[in-house]
């Protein structure tokens, strides 16, 4: 009798558990969230390190080459809508691209414009290696010269003024921006002429409208320099003993 009762109980229990399993669902009752820093106290996994090792050896040999020296830290810190690193980038690409462009077209580039977002790392004072060049310009962007109408050049200047960002502009520009956003502009020592066309050095990324630089789209003429921005930087670093870069009077906020 007792055995039978047990059987009945077990059957009932089994049936209940079957039913409750079928109907049961997951109710979220508690959430715990945190962010964990990965710092020097943590020990590296050796299996992962040995996976990285052959790649690292190859890269280190390349990247640790010292190319030049900078007595000051080059960075994006902004003053007068300029940065020392931005000025260096705009000026050195101009210097590297101008002889190639001259050779191709017998013309002179008027100025260079890049985007502040395209400066991807700073360079601490001291020796400058190939790795710095890669971190500064990791992208495979190519240098191009865009011929713009005076009207498009005005759009470019408006973009610069309204953006309030230290987009790298080369030293051929002298731009004074007043409080009411009116401005005075000269290019290569000549007062800006809205009826004239201008030759602007930039990257293919920006020429395609990157960072909203739509004035570069559909230019009057487009010349490829066949030099990557990064390669221009590396070549310039190699031939320069000590980098000189500073905030100057190309932009003045009045």
């Amino acid at each position: 009798m007792k055995t039978q009762l047990t059987k009945v109980i077990l059957f009932i229990c089994g049936w209940i558990s079957f039913v409750s399993c079928k109907n049961s669902t997951q109710q979220l009752s508690k959430i715990v969230g945190k962010n964990i820093a990965i710092d020097s106290a943590m020990v590296a996994n050796t299996a992962i390190d040995s996976m990285i090792a052959p790649y690292k050896t190859q890269l280190d040999r390349e990247m640790q080459q010292i190319l030049t020296y900078t007595p000051v830290t080059l960075q994006k810190k902004t003053d007068q809508q300029q940065s020392n690193l931005g000025n260096l980038m705009a000026d050195l690409t101009y210097q590297m691209a101008q002889p190639i462009f001259q050779n191709k077209t017998k013309q002179t580039i008027d100025f260079a414009l890049f985007n502040s977002g395209g400066i991807r790392a700073l360079i601490s004072k001291g020796n400058v290696t190939k790795e710095h060049a890669f971190k500064l310009m990791p992208f495979e962007n190519q240098l191009v010269v865009v011929q713009l109408s005076g009207k498009k050049t005005e759009e470019l200047i408006h973009y610069f003024i309204q953006g309030k960002k230290a987009h790298p502009l080369s030293k051929q520009i002298k731009l004074t921006i007043h409080n009411d956003q009116s401005y005075e502009l000269s290019i290569r020592g000549q007062k800006f002429d809205p009826n004239k066309n201008y030759l602007v050095l930039t990257s293919d990324y920006l020429q395609h409208g990157g960072d909203g630089m739509d004035f570069f789209k559909n230019p009057i003429a487009l010349t490829k320099i066949d030099l990557k921005v990064r390669d221009a930087i590396i070549q310039y670093f190699k031939k320069t003993d000590t980098l000189k870069a500073r905030i100057d009077h190309r932009i003045t906020l009045d």
Partner: protein, 304 residues
């Protein structure tokens, strides 16, 4: 409250059982299930730790150290998922020289489960990404990039459902608008679809058709745009939709000290987390589930 209901339903049987001198196993204790979500975003080819001389991030990060941490947490709770919110590529010469192969191999070794695409994952073109896919033993999801007319067609699904410890987890991806951010020659015929509309559809599907217990969004939209508050962001997405439990964000390199809790369109809590960039941090969210007969409207306790 759940327990009260349970006792009422089986009251007769338990009386019987007690009379017979038996105890009820399992019924009296609620089973709790534990799921751990680990995540990264914007690792940007930062395979090695930062150099000890780095001005800001000295000795931080590094995939081999991340592996140790992930392994420790997996030992603690085997029911762990590892996710990434995009921009795996670009940022160190590892990417320039090896095209992202090592990044994917290492993520596979760490047993990443799912990732989404960031804008920089298009940097070697859509073909450059496709070429590295054989190295990735994990899935990519994106619900608002339509890859129909590209080589990625059928290689990137809108969402993935993972069963872990009896918990059904739906994970979908969202990407940022590529026009103006990425050269058209790189992303080609990839079409960008409205993230909010897509999210409404996908989460509905995950909830009602697939009965997911947890819905996670891997988003490369960006946390918030202070200077452009109308631009779609994770904060905006969370408020405008419902059904998402957790948004794992990226793109804006936002170093959140702890996850943000946002009230969604249904007045329920949605969690948003983002761990900055470069593999300096690992996000960890632990979810605890109770087995119940019927879901209540009671919201979960959140400790951040």
């Amino acid at each position: 409250m759940e327990r009260r209901k349970f006792i009422k339903q089986v009251g007769g049987a338990s009386t019987l059982a007690l009379a017979g001198g038996l105890t009820l196993p399992a019924f009296t204790t609620q089973k709790q299930r534990h799921l751990t979500i680990l995540h990264t975003n914007d690792t940007h080819s930062h395979i090695e730790p930062f150099k000890p001389t780095h001005y800001r991030n000295a000795s931080k990060g590094g995939v081999a150290k991340r592996a140790t941490l992930v392994q420790q947490i997996r030992k603690e709770n085997p029911n762990t998922l590892l996710l990434d919110a995009g921009d795996i590529f670009q940022g160190t010469p590892y990417f320039n020289y090896f095209g992202g192969a090592l990044e994917f191999q290492l993520m596979s070794k760490l047993q990443y489960d799912v990732a989404t695409l960031g804008n920089h994952d298009f940097d070697n073109g859509i073909e450059g990404f496709y070429k590295q896919l054989p190295h990735a033993q994990f899935d990519f999801v994106s619900a608002n990039y339509d890859f129909k007319n590209t080589v990625l067609d059928s290689h990137v699904k809108p969402y993935k459902i993972i069963h872990k410890n009896g918990i059904k987890v739906g994970i979908f991806g969202l990407g940022i608008q590529l026009e103006g951010l990425v050269d058209h020659r790189l992303y080609k015929e990839t079409t960008y679809l409205d993230p909010i509309e897509i999210t409404k559809d996908i989460t509905q599907e995950l909830k009602t058709k697939h009965h997911c217990d947890l819905i996670i969004c891997l988003s490369h939209l960006g946390y918030h745009y202070k200077n452009n508050p109308n631009k779609i962001s994770d904060l905006m997405l969370a408020k405008a939709t419902q059904n998402i439990d957790l948004i794992i964000g990226g793109h804006t390199h936002t170093f959140l000290k702890k996850p943000t809790i946002v009230k969604n369109a249904a007045g329920k809590n949605t969690l948003i987390n983002q761990v900055g960039a470069y593999g300096i941090n690992l996000g960890r969210i632990d979810f605890y589930f109770d087995e119940v007969d019927e879901l209540t409207t009671e919201s979960a306790t959140i400790l951040v």
